[in-house]
């Protein structure tokens, strides 16, 4: 549309080159921080999931010969429990290896030994060690459980803290991005104040003026936001490349789920929207001041 194109001449002021850049910078910043937070979050999930997914159950000292049957029953029961991935008794040899430094090989042959069962939970299972103990109590009252709870709690707390900080940082940055976008849009508009006044006084209706500028701002907003998003994606791809070579410990994945992609895609839309709303409001207040 030639008229639209020609009206874009509205924007040839320096500040209209700066607005899209500021929008781009803000989208870039928020984009990277959001991606970072998503990766951190999923890493922490995986990590704490792994910790929880692994329990050790101790059965009080059994004589070497006897109770083999009892052990098998318990392992079988555990294996079939909902939420358990696999359960496996630690073979005696491994157990002895573990105990040698503690009590000396020469004593080991005579004394009854405790048995350990290694239980792997299914990822995301709701099974708690408390529940397992309840079930075990029926058939093996002297069983104990080691769910690494002290360590896990510490680590989970750290992970939880990291999440809280990540959410706070993301929130702060989104807030700052919105404020900056709104302020920059207003500054962009300042140089067009006189244009609005002229249009008004030659008889353009409020709606016409708002539409002309709105379209203008939309173009700039979309341009800036998607430029920023493009830069984010480029940076992300580069990070992926680098990370693919030097496998970073503990970071489970450097990719996003479809849902996360969608969340990310919302960013430029929100920024454009904020810019649009600011323009509309500013024009509204400017016109309201005019007779």
């Amino acid at each position: 549309m030639p008229f639209l194109r020609r009206h874009q001449a509205f924007s040839q002021h320096a500040s209209s080159q700066i607005l899209p850049i500021i929008l781009a910078v803000m989208v870039y910043l928020s984009g990277l921080v959001v991606i970072g937070a998503m990766i951190l979050d999923s890493s922490i999930s995986r990590w704490s999931g792994n910790l929880q997914a692994n329990l050790t159950i101790q059965l009080g000292p059994l004589s070497k010969a006897g109770d083999k049957e009892a052990l098998e029953t318990i392992v079988k029961m555990l294996d079939e429990m909902e939420g358990v991935d696999s359960a496996r008794a630690l073979p005696l040899e491994e157990l002895e290896e573990l105990l040698v430094p503690w009590i000396g090989g020469d004593v080991l042959g005579d004394i009854p030994l405790p048995r350990l069962i290694d239980v792997r939970l299914e990822p995301g299972a709701k099974l708690t060690s408390h529940k397992i103990m309840e079930r075990l109590a029926e058939i093996a009252p002297n069983a104990g459980i080691d769910d690494h709870s002290e360590w896990i709690n510490s680590v989970l707390k750290l992970g939880h803290l990291a999440r809280v900080i990540a959410v706070a940082v993301v929130g702060l940055i989104l807030f700052v991005a919105v404020v900056t976008v709104a302020l920059s849009t207003q500054a962009y508009f300042a140089v067009h104040q006189s244009t609005v006044e002229i249009m008004h006084v030659i008889g353009a209706s409020d709606r016409y003026i708002a539409n002309q500028f709105g379209r203008q701002a939309l173009t700039l907003g979309i341009f800036g936001s998607f430029l920023g998003m493009g830069l984010t994606l480029i940076t992300f791809t580069l990070v992926q490349e680098v990370a693919a070579d030097a496998t970073v410990p503990l970071i489970g994945k450097i990719w996003l789920t479809p849902l996360e992609w969608m969340t990310l895609g919302l960013l430029p839309c929100v920024v454009t929207l904020v810019s649009m709303i600011t323009i509309r409001l500013t024009i509204f207040f400017t016109l309201a001041r005019l007779y």
């Binding site: 008229f3 020609r6 001449a9 509205f10 924007s11 040839q12 002021h13 006189s194 244009t195 006044e197 002229i198 249009m199 008004h200 006084v201 030659i202 008889g203 353009a204 209706s205 409020d206 016409y208 007779y291």
Partner: protein
């Protein structure tokens, strides 16, 4: 157009205009004179609805202005062509786009709009400046662009504030002829000027503004 006891003050400043009452016949041609700072531009601002009066009532096109909706005001403004003393061209648009703006804001599009603007610009002697930006024009040229923009919509009321202040004598006469032409097809014309030679040359009624009061000179 009818003014009834109209006052004007800016903010809380002194009264610029005091109790103006007059009636302008539709289709008339008027000069408005007065010393610098008398309030000519301010009076015209009331007429082209750029500023509300601080007192009194204004009737335009047989409608009381007060109480009209914003859209009705905008519609009224579109029936008025204005030549501003300080031109008020949009810097970012070329001459031809500035001139065709009053047509575009009522939704007219296409070649006829451009042809129209082109013809008017030629008439005021700006053949070679169609696509220049206002910043590269001389003041006399800007004034002529402003005049072209004011008349392109064939307004019912034409208000011109010192429309020949920046052009030489011959050109001034030529522009006055344009206004007379427009007046003949029914437009009411009001021209503020301090150029006494011009006023003497064309025998139209004169309104004289001095110290906030208006006197009519035939």
């Amino acid at each position: 157009m009818r003014f009834r006891a109209v006052d004007l003050r800016y903010g809380s400043g002194p009264e610029i205009l005091r109790g103006l009452s007059f009636h302008l016949m539709s289709g008339s041609f008027q000069f408005l004179t007065g010393p610098s700072g008398a309030g000519k531009t301010s009076l015209l601002k009331l007429m082209y609805l750029a500023h509300p009066p601080s007192g009194g009532a204004i009737e335009l096109f047989d409608q009381v202005v007060k109480g009209l909706s914003r859209d009705q005001m905008a519609a009224m403004r579109r029936r008025i062509g204005v030549v501003f003393q300080d031109f008020r061209l949009i810097d970012h648009l070329s001459c031809i786009d500035n001139v065709s703006l009053p047509l575009r804001i009522v939704g007219e599009e296409g070649k006829s709009v451009n042809a129209n603007a082109r013809e008017l610009l030629e008439w005021v002697g700006l053949d070679g400046k169609m696509n220049s930006k206002p910043a590269t024009l001389s003041d006399g040229e800007k004034q002529r662009v402003s005049i072209a923009r004011a008349v392109i919509g064939r307004p019912d009321l034409l208000i011109a504030d010192e429309p020949t202040g920046n052009v030489d004598g011959d050109q001034g006469v030529r522009l006055m002829r344009l206004f007379e032409e427009l007046n003949k097809i029914g437009t009411t014309v009001i021209i503020a000027t301090h150029d006494e030679g011009m006023v003497a040359r064309f025998s139209h009624p004169v309104l004289r503004l001095k110290e906030g009061c208006l006197t009519r000179i035939q």
